[in-house]
């Protein structure tokens, strides 16, 4: 038997077993719908990820979470520092104004008009 005959024999058309076409058609019709609709299918696909993919996803999520947490904390500290600085400057300014008012009062003998002082409650605003 030469090569041509061997190929012809190997590639010879063969009839499928009985009911093969029906089974394939039925499966093609039902399976995708089932896969889309059931949560088991989704979960199954999710868990079909390999370990390395899972580790990568976890690492990325951790980095993102830590970064976001750090940025949030930094922003909070910054806003707090800003509020404290503004409050401290208000205190300094109001005491300076108080001293000036006293000087003016004593030099002119006028009645005092109390200077507005920031209260501790305002610091938290």
């Amino acid at each position: 038997m030469n090569l041509d005959d061997e190929l012809r024999s190997a590639l010879k058309r063969q009839e499928p077993p009985a009911g093969f076409t029906d089974r394939v058609t039925a499966r093609a019709r039902v399976k995708p719908a089932e896969r889309r609709s059931t949560w088991q299918g989704k979960l199954g696909r999710l868990f079909s990820l390999r370990t390395l993919e899972w580790a990568t996803a976890c690492a990325v999520a951790t980095v993102l979470l830590v970064g976001a947490g750090g940025e949030y904390r930094r922003r909070q500290e910054g806003e707090r520092a800003k509020a404290q600085v503004v409050f401290a400057l208000r205190m300094a300014g109001s005491r300076l104004s108080f001293a000036q008012r006293m000087v003016l009062e004593l030099s002119s003998g006028r009645t005092a008009v109390p200077a507005k002082k920031p209260s501790a409650g305002e610091e938290r605003q």
Binding site: G78, A81, V85, L89, M91, A92, S97, V103, L106
Partner: protein, 178 residues
């Protein structure tokens, strides 16, 4: 080994010098009697952080940002009392003593009955390197210290902003350059 010792002693000298710059305010005995206590200690790192969050666009914040940019510290202690006579001016004595060292000069001392204020400036090479304000009323005692290159003009520029009453500052530059 000598180099390590030199670096260590330099660090020690620096830390002592920095401690000296900040007033030691030990008025814990008043805190228990006070209705309200404000105790703010803002070092240069904190001021730097705050500076990053102060907008350069908004006029109010831009002034404050410029003012604190070179500062090394801002310290505020304030006590408010329910009734009069909870403190005496002797309580301020240890603080005044710290301000009676070379470099510091009192530019204002005004006393009227139960109210008063003292303003001290620290000069270094003809420039203001710090301000200390002691102010008291019948039911309130406040000590403010600002360390760093600042002058009263800068502080007065904040008058009318952040709720600070407008301030007119007398010319104190002549006094400093004497």
């Amino acid at each position: 080994m000598k180099r390590i010792l030199f670096v260590l002693s330099l660090a020690l000298i620096c830390s002592v010098a920095r401690m000296d710059a900040q007033l030691k305010i030990n008025l814990d005995n008043l805190a228990s009697k006070a209705k309200e206590v404000v105790d703010l200690s803002l070092d240069s790192a904190m001021l730097q952080t705050a500076g990053q969050f102060l907008s350069a666009e908004k006029s109010n914040e831009a002034k404050a940002k410029a003012l604190i940019s070179g500062l090394k510290g801002v310290y505020v202690k304030s006590y408010q009392f329910d009734k009069e006579g909870q403190y005496t001016l002797d309580d301020l004595k240890p603080i005044r003593e710290q301000l009676q060292v070379p470099g510091w000069s009192r530019i204002l001392n005004v006393v009227d009955n139960r109210e008063g204020a003292e303003i001290y400036l620290k000069a270094e090479e003809g420039k203001t390197a710090g301000i200390a304000i002691l102010a008291w009323e019948a039911r309130e005692l406040t000590i403010v210290q600002i360390i760093g290159p600042i002058n009263l003009d800068q502080l007065s520029e904040l008058g009318g902003r952040f709720g600070i009453p407008p301030v007119v500052v007398p010319d104190v530059k002549k006094k400093l350059t004497k």
